[in-house]
Each structure stands twice: as C-alpha cells, then as structure tokens.
C-alpha cells in the first residue's frame, strides 16, 4: 500500500506525459537515461523544491549515491538551484551539481562508497547526454 502511494506521489510529481516537453530535458527523461545506463534508482520521493528554487524535486539514491533531481521554469532559477545543490552536498567526499536544459542533478558521495568516482561518472554522463 505504501509502495503504491509512493508511486502515485512520484507520478503526480513529475507528470504523466512521456512526451518530450518544449524547453529542454525534463525529469522523466532523466529517469529513462539512468535506466538505460544500467543505473539503479532507489527510494526517490518528492522533496521540497523551494530549497532548490525549483518547481519540482525528487530525492533518492542512484547506485547508493545520494541524488537530487529538480525541474525549473527558467535558466535563472536553475543557476540559483546550483548554488543550493552545492550547499546540499555539504562536506561529502565527492559531489557534482550539473544542469541540463530545465533540470538539475546533484549527487553527493557522503559515505565514500564511490572512491574512484566511476559511479558518479556514470550518473553524470547519463544526465549530461540526455537530450
């Protein structure tokens, strides 16, 4: 039942349409890109988008790396979101905050589970290659 609720919440958060939306990459495309790259997305749930100056945000883990993905209405808001993403990363050993179209990706390796960055490289590569 809880699982169903989470799925419903995620669908509500990112919208039902799979069609690419004008204005750049959207959250659903990022999810597809992670799946295609063989990355496992876990426990993604909506999180407060105002913290990242975004319209929608999801937080979870991708292959055990803390991950936030957000969607924006404007490039200016995305630029502010990057600053917020760096603050969210805190003092993680490794972190990356990137933008692509209207989306933001922030990853933080807080537990040092990715010592050589190969997982973060896969995540950021999947994100930046999404068109």
């Amino acid at each position: 039942m809880t699982r169903l609720f989470v799925v419903a919440a995620l669908v509500a958060a990112v919208g039902c349409s799979k069609k690419p939306t004008e204005g750049g990459v959207r959250l659903e495309q990022i999810s597809d890109a992670f799946n295609s790259a063989g990355l496992k997305a876990d426990n993604f749930q909506p999180t407060d988008p105002t913290r990242f100056n975004a319209t929608k945000c999801l937080a979870g883990q991708v292959d055990n790396i803390d991950t936030i993905v957000c969607e924006y209405g404007s490039p200016d808001a995305l630029a502010l979101g990057k600053k917020a993403g760096e603050q969210w990363a805190g003092n993680a050993t490794t972190a990356a905050v990137l933008g692509n179209g209207r989306t933001l990706l922030a990853v933080a390796d807080r537990a040092h589970t990715d010592p050589n960055g190969k997982t973060i490289h896969k995540i950021t590569q999947a994100f930046t290659k999404t068109r």
Partner: protein, 281 residues
C-alpha cells in the same frame, strides 16, 4: 529575547553551511586522488568537487576556481585506454572556458585520443601537436616543474620509435643516463650530466640543448642508443629507456598497455535489466 535566539541560531546555521561548502575544491575532468583519501584515480569527467585539493598542484592548470589535471594518468593508478602523445599539446577537457595545455616533454600517455584536426599529426599512432602554443602557457619554469614531477616515472612512458613530422617544432626527448655526442655540427650546451643511479639528474636548467646543424645527426646514448634525426632545436634528457626519434625505419609504439576493466559493471549486476519502471511510470 526569543527572536534574538532564533536569529542567532539561523546565523550559525548559515555560517556552518557556507563553511561546509567552502571546503570543497573544484575539478574539471579526471585526476589523481589525494593520497590521504586513498590515492588512485578519479574518473569523473564532468565538473565536480572533492573535500581535498591536488597532491601535486604542478600537474594541474587552474582555470578560474577549477583545477584541470594536465598530466599523464598512468603513474597514478589509471586503468583504461591510453593514447600516446609526443611533446606539448592542448588537453581535452569539457567545460573549460580557456585552453589547457599538457607540458610533458617527449612520449607520454593520455586517456583521450588526439582529435582529428589539422593541429595534430598522428604518425604511427603517436600524436604530435603541430600548431603553435601561446607563450603564456609554456613558461620555462612551468615546463621544468611539470617534467620534474614525471622524472621518477620514466618507466611508465610509452616507448616510441617514430620520426616527428617536419611541421612539428617541439623538443626531442632523449632517455638515457648519460650522453655522448658523436656527430659533426652538434654542440651540447650543458654544464654536465650528473648521474645519480638509477636515474639522471641534470643540473638546472634540466634541458640539454643540442644545436643540430643538419638532419641525420646521430646522438649516441647508452644502449640501445638514441637517434635524433630532425633538425629541431633541443634534446631533453630523461632517464633509462629507449626512445628513437627520427629514424626512418620501422616504427614501434610500445610500453605497458593498459586494459579496460569495466569495474562499473558490478553495479549492473544489481540491476534488474530494465524490469523496474523508473520513478515516472
């Protein structure tokens, strides 16, 4: 009173957050990992941050707030494809607002291949950058410190036997503990070569300049010999190893080649091969 306490607490939170953010050091592209964080090589190509700075800052070019590793990754635990280069050239890095240059003399590896542009001539798999590099990026002091960093790692260099293209105007790197010049028209301007086994120490400046008057000059080094052919200006002395430059005969591009271990596939093992639906379905 209560409002003041809340404001004070907020100020402390903001200050702490700012300090935590300030601890990160920015990198563009892959680079060696600091020894105190386990060493090895970081493979992230996108702009990213770490809580540590570079162990060897001489091997980085700072671009704004970002560090770009410009060197040969081989001695630092890099595993993956490697491509031989010879001499100085631009570094392939995404997202850099200004050009970045590798200043390693002689043969060395990079994880990226030279782009197929007229700026490069690739001879027998070895890339030579034939366009000029702005002097601002090739300061002699910087060239010296970069190559000093790589002096202990001569055995990691590719072994290259190739004649540089005529349009290349770099320095010929000669590996050998000592040199004996036995050709007419060649003058060696160096205060001497001091041998500190097993390597070579050349008192500053670390270059041995050889003025070559004509092509085909043979500079005899220790076995198996060093042959310098093209009429380019300088010979750079390295350490043991065989480098033949200029001989028009067979070409050997060797050295310990890496292999591509797809360690990341361990993550794929846990994947359900597309059966999970992602977060939007």
């Amino acid at each position: 009173m209560r409002t003041r306490s809340i404001l004070l607490a907020l100020a402390l939170v903001v200050a702490f957050a700012a300090r935590a953010e300030a601890r990160h050091v920015r990198f563009l592209g892959p680079h060696p990992i600091a020894a105190k964080y386990g060493g090895g090589y970081c493979y992230i190509e996108a702009p990213h941050m770490h809580v540590y700075g570079p162990d060897r800052p001489n091997l980085y070019q700072q671009v704004g707030d970002d560090y770009v590793f410009t060197g040969d990754p081989t001695p630092f635990g890099y595993e993956g494809d490697r491509h031989p280069f010879y001499g100085h050239h631009p570094v392939m890095v995404d997202g850099s607002p200004e050009p970045v240059y590798c200043l390693i003399d002689g043969p060395h590896f990079h994880a990226y291949a030279a782009p197929s542009t007229p700026d490069y001539r690739v001879k027998n798999g070895v890339a030579f950058y034939v366009s000029p590099i702005p002097a601002a990026y090739v300061k002699p002091a910087r060239v010296r410190v970069v190559n000093a960093e790589y002096r202990p790692y001569v055995s990691f260099r590719p072994q290259v036997e190739v004649a540089p293209p005529p349009e290349w105007h770099g320095e010929v790197y000669v590996a050998g503990p000592s040199m004996e010049v036995s050709a007419p028209g060649v003058e060696v301007h160096a205060p001497g070569v001091e041998v500190r086994a097993p390597g070579v120490f050349v008192p500053p400046p670390p270059h041995v300049s050889v003025e070559v008057g004509a092509p085909g000059v043979i500079v005899a080094g220790p076995a198996p010999g060093v042959f310098v052919g093209p009429p380019h200006g300088r010979v750079v002395v390295g350490a043991p190893g065989a480098v033949v430059v200029g001989a028009p005969g067979p070409v050997i591009v060797g050295g310990p080649r890496g292999h591509w271990e797809r360690h990341e596939e361990k993550h794929w093992e846990h994947h359900d091969n597309g059966r999970h639906n992602g977060w939007h379905k």
